[in-house]
């Protein structure tokens, strides 16, 4: 089964879900196409606290670089570059966004000059288009990540989530995938939720 996964690299919950779906790839026959979405776009027009607004502004930088890399190398570069960024943001808790971008580009063997995309608005329309393709399925007013699969008629269906912590591994990961597919393919399902009793556990 094919799945499309839209992510913003700085969201810790999207990170957990992304590491889960990589576990699923080991135990189920799925292939994931990775695409960017943007916390910046998600929060446009929202009345958010000043320090969060500052963080949101910074999220544009890695997203632009990811998109520039995608333009150059194709969709296949997105997962390794996301992983290289995410390890630094979420596991190493690095706060210096530009240092993370530089180190991640080097790790995956991309030219350091791609980092300049962070300061450019040239790709913003394309980032918005990629984002829009995801939220066209999940609806606006939810969050990142969005995962899409085909329903039983072959039409794409997309959801925000699953939001989980900690990362399910092995067969637990596979069972959650099975549940996701069963639920997502039933017409009319919009929400399953419980209160978050824990913050994100990212490793």
């Amino acid at each position: 089964m094919k799945a499309t996964f839209w992510f913003d690299p700085m969201c810790p919950w999207a990170w957990i879900t992304s590491r889960w779906i990589l576990e699923v790839e080991k135990v189920r026959d799925i292939s994931v196409n990775w695409q960017v979405m943007s916390l910046g776009v998600l929060n446009e027009g929202n009345d958010v606290p000043a320090d969060y607004a500052e963080l949101i502004k910074r999220t544009w930088r890695p997203v632009r670089v990811l998109h520039a890399a995608q333009q150059l190398k194709g969709d296949e570069i997105l997962l390794p570059l996301y992983t290289a960024m995410g390890n630094r943001f979420h596991l190493e808790k690095q706060k210096d966004v530009d240092a993370v971008i530089a180190a991640a580009l080097a790790e995956v063997g991309l030219d350091a000059s791609l980092a300049s995309a962070a300061d450019s608005t040239d790709f913003d329309d394309a980032v918005r288009a990629s984002h829009a393709a995801g939220v066209a399925l999940s609806g606006t007013g939810v969050g990142t990540p969005v995962i899409a699969i085909d329903d039983l008629e072959g039409n794409p269906v997309g959801f925000f989530g699953p939001i989980i912590t900690p990362i399910p591994r092995g067969e637990d990961a596979g069972k959650l995938w099975d549940g996701f597919v069963l639920v997502a393919q039933v017409p009319g399902v919009v929400e399953i939720k419980r209160s978050r009793f824990s913050g994100p556990v990212v490793d």
């Binding site: 999940s138 989980i164 069972k175 639920v183 009319g188 919009v190 399953i192 419980r194 978050r196 009793f197």
Partner: protein, 196 residues
């Protein structure tokens, strides 16, 4: 009283006929859910919220009088009249539903007393204990990972899945409930709720 609860309840009834499950139907109360809202609800919504007490009390009165099965029957009779037949005269709905379920008139009368409020609150609290405070109704309490109990808000779904789709949704919800730390799967509600 909640149309989105009605569609989920109808789905669960369908699942009972096709999977080996037994549902224990318990009340929550929308009025209690909104008691501690940071911004008080608009006056007309507040009035409606207060009316949700009447139903919850009547169902607990039915349970006290005649047991869980009577409570289930009354719940579905009131739900049908309210959500499907769209009868908005709540005292009349309760009286008619009580009569339909062949329960004593005292069950309807209890809806305007505070006699069962503590029972309603305890039942509601049990659901919130499992599903959390910042969600809504319905909450589905079910076996979680390693013999624990978890509560999930939803599945919010419209129209009500029937037949094979109902069974698949159940199987999926069980798998999610049994995943440690599963919190949320959501999309925006773009369609109006359809009750039948």
């Amino acid at each position: 009283m909640s149309p989105w609860t009605w569609t989920t309840a109808r789905w669960l009834e369908e699942v009972e006929t096709m999977r080996d499950i037994k549902v224990n139907w318990r009340v929550m109360c929308m009025a209690i859910l909104h008691e501690n809202d940071e911004t008080p609800p608009p006056a007309n919504f507040q009035e409606w919220l207060e009316s949700t007490w009447l139903v919850a009390r009547a169902i607990e009165a039915a349970r006290a009088n005649s047991g869980d099965e009577a409570a289930r029957k009354l719940l579905f009779a009131i739900g049908r009249m309210n959500n499907v037949e769209r009868n908005r005269d709540l005292p009349a709905v309760i009286a008619a539903a009580v009569a339909e379920c062949e329960l004593p008139e005292s069950v309807a009368a209890a809806s305007t007393t505070t006699e069962f409020d503590a029972v309603v609150r305890a039942s509601h609290a049990q659901a919130v204990e499992l599903g959390g405070k910042d969600v809504g109704t319905p909450i589905l309490g079910m076996p979680g990972p390693d013999g624990t109990a978890v509560g999930l808000f939803g599945p919010v779904v419209s129209p009500t899945p029937r037949g094979d789709a109902a069974g698949r949704l159940w199987d999926g919800v069980v798998l999610m409930a049994q995943t440690p730390g599963f919190y949320e799967l959501k999309k925006e509600r773009t369609a109006k709720v359809w009750c039948d």
